[in-house]
Symmetry: C2
Subunit: 144 residues, 2 copies
């Protein structure tokens, strides 16, 4: 059988952890590991407080739920820890089409806006060997 | 209170996922995402089969247990998924000392040999907000 199309990820864009308190978690990422704080912000759209921390050319995202929603659900169900790893791909629609053609289960059929800009979509962890995987590109999100 | 000493992580060295089958997982990381296979090997010392996949300047490690041991225990208890994220620090003893001084719980009091060479030590996920965190350096491991 020929290989399914690849989307040729350029790099890891970011890795995301859910925590109970961003401020507490900065003790690890900033005070101990010395990562650079790019920004700390609250997103009403996503219902979270998030810190974006630079580690080389990868961003570490630390996310705290501010109210009910998927991040709060995750925290209550799984406890704090790894949430997802995001790969930058050249074009997200092509990446999603390649994923579906290869039999991966896609959570987001279409790109949605990223918390940090750009466009994102998740693959379902049941089909990615337990690891929640995001694909993203740097194109501007446009409502249809 | 003054900040505890920082170890100034240079970058993310690798991110590690436990899977039931490395060969199956390569469908995601190689066939779909197009990561470069650096090597696939079996380590008798660690009791695992591991694939090392390059994503920019970060390595993705995919680890399958070959027999009883901590990776098999992890898989049975938690299922497949994220295992740890490793930061490269300039000097691992200094990193461990900084972590202990800052109140983090250290799993490995002293450096141990990494599966890929170099020296590694883990911080306990209970003290790192649920995210198993490794510090590593590129120095040669020496038995005492």
């Amino acid at each position: 059988m020929p290989h399914a199309p690849t989307t040729k990820a350029r790099k890891i864009d970011h890795v995301s952890f859910v925590v109970e308190s961003v401020d507490e978690a900065l003790r690890l990422y900033v005070d101990l590991l010395g990562l650079e704080v790019v920004k700390v912000e609250e997103s009403e759209l996503h219902g979270v407080k998030a810190a974006f921390l630079r580690a080389g050319d990868v961003m570490v995202e630390v996310i705290e739920p501010l109210g009910p929603g998927p991040i709060m659900d995750f925290l209550e169900k799984r406890g704090p820890g790894f949430h997802h790893l995001a790969y930058e791909v050249p074009d997200l629609e092509e990446g999603l089409a390649a994923a579906e053609a290869a039999g991966f289960r896609v959570v987001d059929e279409k790109p949605k806006p990223g918390i940090e800009g750009g466009r994102i979509a998740f693959l379902h962890p049941k089909s990615t060997f337990g690891a929640m995987t995001e694909m993203c590109d740097k194109k501007e999100f446009e409502e249809e």
